[in-house]
């Protein structure tokens, strides 16, 4: 198997989905975001965002906390250490892919 194919196969399949990648990217930039902030920033529907967050939580990449602010419920999401590590690894793989292609183009 060539390096290129290996790198592609090593990409985390959970993060490779663009909706989940967008969620993790946003959470990596901010320490904590509410469900509403995430939904507005990523322009996702409530249902779509819920499904993706559930999958990320199941894998241990995000923590979801629910509390009341006044009388209104608020859901806040945070990237876990495992989620951050997976995100950084995913970025490393993407960068390696780009570097390898650049190297091949120069050769």
């Amino acid at each position: 198997m060539n390096d290129f194919k290996r790198l592609v196969e090593e990409l985390d399949p959970l993060l490779h989905e663009r909706g989940r990648l967008a969620i993790v990217s946003a959470l990596a930039a901010a320490s904590q975001l509410t469900f509403t902030e995430l939904r507005d920033t990523l322009e996702m529907t409530d249902g779509n965002l819920s499904v993706h967050l559930q999958k990320l939580e199941d894998k241990g990449y995000v923590t979801i906390a629910k509390r009341f602010v006044g009388r209104r419920p608020q859901t806040s999401c945070q990237l876990t250490r495992a989620g951050r590590q997976a995100f950084v690894l995913y970025l490393d793989h993407l960068e390696a892919l780009v570097h390898q292609a650049r190297g091949q183009a120069r050769a």
């Binding site: 959470l27 930039a29 990523l42 970025l91 993407l94 780009v98």
Partner: protein, 208 residues
């Protein structure tokens, strides 16, 4: 995944991360308006007497009020254009970061006018120092040019207070025109170029 797609994904991730933590509603028009108003305000002292506290106070009040109006109008227009909320988490973070400098600048302005004896001519340096500090405080949430403007204004504020003390009050207004006026014009031009680039790319919408 193709390398080109990997590069594109990296670009999109970067855009998303910037969008999440940075305040994106700063407008070129507001920057240019603040710069031009400051230059006009400074130019008005070719006719008016800067050592007169009343004319000095009126001119700079008009400049700051005009700049604030331009910023508010520009923010609302940009928020509508981008379909974003104006009172966002980033906006609250910016205002909280700016608040100490604004309060300090206001208190010192009142104090310098109250002391009298031409002390108000030290105010341009005080304003530049406070504004520069405020701009640096917001730099975690604002685009990079704000950080450069903050550093430039701290430098100009320091130079202005030194020159005003050593060589006389006549230096204060021209240096305010250069630091605050031209600084904002430069910021406006930089933001204008970025706004044009953003219109042509619109990377984010392809993903989210």
């Amino acid at each position: 995944m193709e390398p080109r797609q990997a590069a594109h994904t990296l670009e999109v991730i970067r855009t998303l991360m910037e969008r999440t933590c940075q305040y994106q509603l700063l407008t070129a028009r507001a920057g240019l308006a603040a710069g031009c108003l400051t230059l006009a305000g400074a130019a008005s002292f070719l006719l008016l007497d800067a050592s007169n506290p009343l004319s000095f106070g009126v001119v700079w009040t008009v400049v700051f009020a005009g700049s604030l109006c331009a910023t508010c109008l520009g923010t609302v227009a940009r928020g509508r254009e981008r379909g974003e909320r104006i009172w966002s988490r980033q906006a609250r973070a910016i205002i909280l970061a700016l608040a100490p400098s604004v309060v300090a600048g206001f208190v010192l302005t009142v104090f310098f006018f109250a002391v009298g004896g031409g002390m108000h001519l030290y105010l341009p340096s005080v304003w530049m120092l406070c504004y520069g500090q405020g701009a640096l405080a917001t730099s975690a949430y604002a685009p990079a040019p704000i950080r450069y403007l903050g550093m430039a204004l701290l430098l100009f504020g320091g130079v202005t207070i030194g020159l005003t003390f050593a060589l006389g009050e006549s230096w204060a207004v021209p240096l305010m025109a250069v630091g605050f006026g031209l600084g904002h014009v430069a910021l406006g031009i930089d933001l204008l170029l970025k706004e044009r680039q953003e219109r042509s790319v619109k990377v984010f919408r392809e993903v989210a």
